[in-house]
């Protein structure tokens, strides 16, 4: 699908992400201007401070943005993800160009003019406001311009900590190796950066002392600029305050296709069966969903039992699905005040895959069946499977597997193609991957129950369930409704056919 098609089909989401992006940038650079310009002015008055302050601002700007976001998470505690840390990080990045330009702009004012101003009996404040700032204004605006352009770019990375914005598309695209999606985030961001650069460059020229007869234009521009920043800040506070009230729940999702589908499923099921409003939070990577849930920033998300069991609760992997589910349910109740609702049905675990034709020819059903032929086969596995605790070594031991040569390590998505193309004969994929059906692959049954279960089930804060007693019933209508095969189809519709999540989910729920 072409970029233009994508943007047209998803225009409301594109618009929303663009506005989110713009808001992040405006609030952050606006705040940086409000702080940075006075700091720059103070530095021109206290020369001894100039070096250390500029050095600190310099260092701040050299911190890689992802690392800065990482530092902010523990510092800000429960506010460590979402818009606030993104704004703080962008604010810190914006400070240096604004402080530096204010400082150099004012210091660059003709000394004769400054001396005349003082000699004529202007107070320091009058010299600053009537002479230095007006004469340095175009250079200060140039600093704001640099800060804004940097912020537009850096804000794309803020999607990693759930701040939304156009980076959401870029990260989605990177994960699914989808060029269109990457461009859908990058192109609007680039246009925004160029637009800001052009607009502020134009303002800069108008404000230049070399341009004469601009008194009125200057005042008008300053007024409009101030109004835009004030409105953006006000909007961000008001929208934040409004979303706090009313009958509404916030549903989070992890940053991959399946999690987005499941969040949308739960969201539409709640909307269809209750009068509760559902807000969809931005996608979060790693264990950020877990943190946000505990912090009360989101009310619910869909988690996998195996992930909770090993990654969050740090238990040793076990293979009985019922036992794992009961254990995580108990632990979450006692440790986190969070309820596990009924599993949705499918199990997204490692899937040992062979070509479908091969499975039919040799009448293979289970991994044990296949183990007999393995000595003549080649295997290809992703790095993840080769290295993790519940991966290859234990797997080979459990089934007594020996391949004709040591397994090749390859990219997960490439291994599907390699299997279909006959370069390898057995791979470990994900059991809900849409490519399994598409490429005519066959999943062998884990008859010795080696792989721990990764059943998907909705997690909800107990507080939320108590406030909305009808919620659990509505969500549990989905219990056991989604088979592995259905999940594959849903994933395929999004990843391969590039269809819209909302639409695909609506269609699926209509068929249930």
């Amino acid at each position: 699908m072409s970029l233009i098609d994508f943007l047209i089909r998803n225009r409301s989401e594109v618009l929303q992400l663009t506005l989110e992006h713009l808001l992040l940038v405006l609030v952050a650079t606006g705040a940086a201007a409000v702080v940075g310009i006075p700091v720059g002015v103070v530095l021109t008055r206290k020369a001894a401070l100039a070096k250390p302050v500029l050095a600190i601002a310099n260092v701040l700007q050299t911190i890689p943005s992802l690392a800065l976001f990482g530092f902010l998470i523990p510092i800000l505690g429960s506010y460590g993800i979402g818009r606030l840390p993104a704004i703080i990080a962008l604010f810190l990045y914006s400070l240096l160009p604004i402080i530096r330009n204010t400082f150099t702009g004012i210091n660059g004012v003709d000394p004769a003019v400054r001396e005349a101003a003082r000699g004529m009996g202007m107070t320091d404040w009058q010299v600053l406001t009537q002479v230095e700032l007006p004469l340095a204004l175009n250079i200060i605006v140039a600093g704001v311009r640099v800060a804004t352009v940097i912020s537009v770019g850096t804000a794309t990375i803020a999607a990693a900590i759930g701040a939304g914005g156009l980076g959401t598309y870029i990260f989605r695209g990177l994960r699914t190796v989808d060029r269109t999606l990457i461009l859908a985030g990058a192109v609007p961001a680039a246009i925004m950066a160029l637009g800001a650069d052009f607009a502020l460059g134009w303002i800069e020229r108008i404000l230049s002392p070399a341009t004469v007869r601009v008194g009125a234009a200057r005042k008008w521009l300053l007024g409009v600029g101030a109004a835009v920043v004030v409105m953006a800040v006000a909007y961000s506070f008001v929208s934040g305050a409004l979303s706090g009230g009313g009958r509404r729940v916030i549903i989070g999702s992890k940053d991959f296709t399946e999690s987005r589908i499941l969040a949308e499923l739960v969201a539409q099921e709640i909307e269809a069966n209750t009068d509760i409003k559902v807000e969809r939070a931005a996608e979060l990577s790693g264990d950020l969903c877990h943190r946000e849930l505990l912090a009360g920033q989101i009310d619910m998300y869909v988690e996998y039992t195996g992930t909770a069991f090993t990654a969050i609760l740090k238990h040793k992997p076990i293979s009985d699905p019922r036992e794992v589910y009961d254990q995580v349910k108990r632990d979450y109740q006692s440790q986190f005040n969070v309820e596990w609702l009924e599993p949705l049905g499918f199990n997204n675990t490692f899937a040992i895959l062979v070509r479908g034709v091969e499975a039919r020819r040799l009448n293979l059903k289970t991994i044990s069946d296949a183990a007999r032929y393995a000595s003549g086969w080649r295997a290809g596995f992703g790095q993840d499977f080769m290295s993790r605790q519940d991966g290859y070594p234990g797997f080979a031991r459990t089934y007594g597997l020996k391949f004709s040569e040591p397994p090749r390590e390859m990219d997960l998505s490439l291994s599907y193609q390699a299997l279909a193309g006959g370069q390898v004969d057995l791979i470990a994929g994900n059991s809900t991957d849409g490519l399994i059906d598409k490429l005519g692959l066959f999943q062998l049954e884990d008859d010795r129950h080696y792989f721990p279960p990764y059943e998907a089930a909705p997690l909800v804060r107990r507080e939320t369930l108590e406030r909305y007693p009808q919620l659990a019933g509505a969500i549990n209508r989905l219990a056991g409704k989604i088979t592995n095969e259905q999940m594959r189809k849903l994933n395929y519709a999004i990843d391969a056919e590039k269809r819209d999540v909302t639409e695909v989910v609506r269609e699926f729920l209509g068929q249930l």
Binding site: R118, G121, M122, V212, R213
Partner: protein, 259 residues
């Protein structure tokens, strides 16, 4: 103007500016000026003459407190410098510098009206004063009032600089090489006009220059600086006959130029 005349007659005998053993030493012990003792009488034009770095500009800035002395005392209108509010003092002293120091983002009108507006004059009076001053420095108000400094020639800028310094009718005017950056013809023209103007204005003027001809043209008295010290203080006539080696050097340069 009449109040100024009253003031003048009351304090006729008292010098407007008095330097009492004034020194300014910077960090490291270097003296920019030392042991300055002189007075400026009401209505006179004292020209401070000397080579670059001899301390004449420093002396000027000590008067309007852009610099503070490290020793001695400066009296302005009989009142010790440090008892003056610096801002108030500067608004009573006109100030013209070499590069004019006009505000590039202000029109000619706003540049000239600066001190009257700082002092809170009524708008009508200020505007009338601006026209009067433009007329005084020989520029047509209708043509120049709304121009910006960059739309003026160097000579016109310096005329505006003079007009700005005179705007609030200060009893004292300090001028730091005001014509130094002009081409010789324009300089000569402005010097002649200013010599005539200063006689009419009855201001106490302290004028810094390194140009001996300018000094002879404008001065009631000439103060010669060398290495931060005032080495000669004399009328132009006395100065021309001085035995001081530095004064001789300046006088000789005049003769060399003429031949």
């Amino acid at each position: 103007m009449s109040s100024l005349a009253d003031q003048a007659s009351q304090t006729q005998s008292e010098p407007v500016i008095q330097f009492r053993d004034v020194s300014l030493t910077v960090k490291g012990g270097r003296a920019l000026v030392e042991h300055l003792r002189f007075e400026v009488a009401r209505g006179e034009t004292l020209v401070l003459l000397g080579r670059s770095g001899s301390g004449k500009t420093t002396t000027l800035k000590l008067i309007n407190r852009l610099l503070e002395p490290s020793g001695g005392e400066i009296l302005v209108e009989g009142k010790p410098g440090r008892e003056w509010d610096a801002i108030e003092l500067r608004r009573r002293i006109g100030y013209v510098i070499q590069e004019s120091g006009l505000f590039p983002h202000f029109t000619v009108e706003r540049n000239i009206a600066l001190v009257p507006r700082l002092k809170g004059w009524p708008e009508e009076k200020t505007r009338a004063r601006v026209r009067e001053l433009l007329d005084l420095v020989g520029l047509d108000a209708d043509v120049f009032a709304n121009r910006y400094p960059r739309e003026l020639s160097g000579g016109q800028r310096q005329r505006i600089g003079v007009a700005r310094a005179l705007a609030a009718d200060p009893p004292i005017v300090l001028m730091d090489e005001p014509f130094g950056a002009l081409d010789p013809l324009t300089r000569a023209e402005l010097q002649r006009e200013f010599a005539a103007l200063s006689k009419r204005l009855n201001k106490s003027i302290v004028f810094v220059t390194h140009d001996i001809r300018e000094a002879f043209l404008l001065a009631s008295r000439i103060g010669l600086f060398k290495d931060g010290k005032l080495v000669v203080l004399a009328t132009p006539k006395e100065f021309a006959e001085s035995d001081d080696p530095e004064a001789k050097a300046f006088n000789d340069s005049l003769n060399t130029d003429l031949t």
